[in-house]
Symmetry: C2
Subunit: 235 residues, 2 copies
DNA sequence: CCAAAAGTGTTATACGTACACCCATGA
DNA sequence: TCATGGGTGTACGTATAACACTTTTGG
């Protein structure tokens, strides 16, 4: 049996993270300018190599932390990519993760560190290797998952307004939802706590702020609700 | 940049397939007795190594074919598993796939080849490495996916009866559904064509056979229907 | 006072669910 | 003739979708 192992070719294993961010307006992606090499205007997903003594989840978490200083956020395995020609330098299998983070809370921390930059989903630069394909699959997964799991809140700041959540879902699905039906549905989850404060500055009237009921959120985080108005047309 | 590649540790990459089968009665898993080595009663998922010039999908397909002679069936990537201690012999990252196949059509072909054996989901033997964990995640994925995509039909033979599909869904979800509501729902997809023949032998009355409308199935295979009566309690 | 966004209610329809009886047939 | 599994219909309640006006307030 052991000989069977010896004969096999080994392979580099990389981890790449698709980091989604939301700033209250737009859905964004965090990209880094690729290292110190030739590529001029090529941007890249956050990535790194698997080390000998860590699991895939640990490696993804470590790399995210090293490059952004962010930790403890939503980070889930997406897919493994292993086309033999995906990395022209050397055969590499990449395990992609996707992360959800709210832009505002981490803005300065992130930008300062590694020349990372938030790009609007609609307006991405040229990307390394198969990173665009990874992003495409990540947005599909995000849509799929957000339809039934309340993971949208992972992208919201501590305090947020209903119109902001509406914006987020509209950004995720690239379509418009009826605000009355939407707010009724979101509130019916019972996951939101209405605060006394209002968000001022954006609109003249101001919108009430809400916060997540973390108790309920943890319990319900893998429950199965229908979060979007029209499930047809998905995926 | 190239030096960055050289420093990195390489890793074996394995592919393992969770092969679900249905025989009209029970949901089953196809397992093989592990090679020519010490383990006495340890069974294993179908697996093999990634070769230098193939993609992950290709490798999974090749390995499935080599071990079962089966090709062209539903085969989808599940997850990558990379715990450093998952394979005690050597650090290995395993990319798991899950496959759906109907037992009857391939029964003899499969059993003859590589000492493979179908096990009822409820009654699995001791398994290699983290294979049980893989199976657990695969059944979750199957439940998740079958709830909204008509992949259940991948497990059915060419011709099948409504009670058989009901059996399948009950096996997948481990619960009972009302046969009247279920058949109404399945038929309302418009994916089934009723044949003139009946399945005889099992029941005295005999049940009408149906076949998939492959045209519609291809179109709708990534549509988004609610296939199971009660979406709560899932995942 | 006006523009811009927030907030709120009703109604019609579709869908999900619960439920029970008759049918066909082989033994 | 009877036991077994196959097949069908209805009524009720809930969830969804479509829809428009009033409120607040900064400029």
């Amino acid at each position: 049996m052991l000989e069977l192992y010896k004969q096999q070719t080994k392979c580099l294993v990389a981890l790449d993270s698709i980091i989604f961010g939301f700033d209250g307006e737009e859905l964004k992606l965090l990209l880094v300018k690729r290292g110190v090499q030739t590529d001029h205007d090529t941007w890249s997903l956050m990535g790194g190599w698997l080390k000998p003594n860590e699991s895939l989840d640990q490696a993804a978490e470590r790399i995210l932390f090293e490059l952004t200083g962010v930790t403890g956020i939503f980070l889930e395995q997406l897919n493994a990519f292993g086309d033999p020609s995906r990395d022209p330098v050397e055969r590499t299998v990449a395990v992609a993760y996707y992360a959800l983070v709210n832009v505002k809370d981490y803005e300065t921390k992130i930008s300062d560190t590694h020349h990372a930059q938030w790009f609007p989903m609609q307006d991405l630069p040229e990307l390394l290797f198969d990173h665009r394909e990874m992003i495409k699959i990540a947005i599909e997964r995000l849509r799929y998952k957000a339809a039934f799991h309340p993971i949208g809140f992972e992208l919201m700041p501590e305090k947020f307004t209903i119109p902001q959540i509406l914006n987020l879902y509209e950004a995720i699905y690239g379509s418009n939802f009826d605000k009355r039906n939407f707010s009724r549905k979101i509130l019916s989850t019972g996951l939101l706590i209405k605060l006394k404060e209002k968000q001022k500055g954006f609109s003249k009237k101001g919108a009430f702020l809400y916060t997540l009921d973390n108790e309920k959120y943890k319990k319900h985080s893998d429950s199965f609700l229908n979060f979007i108005p029209n499930p047809e047309g998905l995926v």
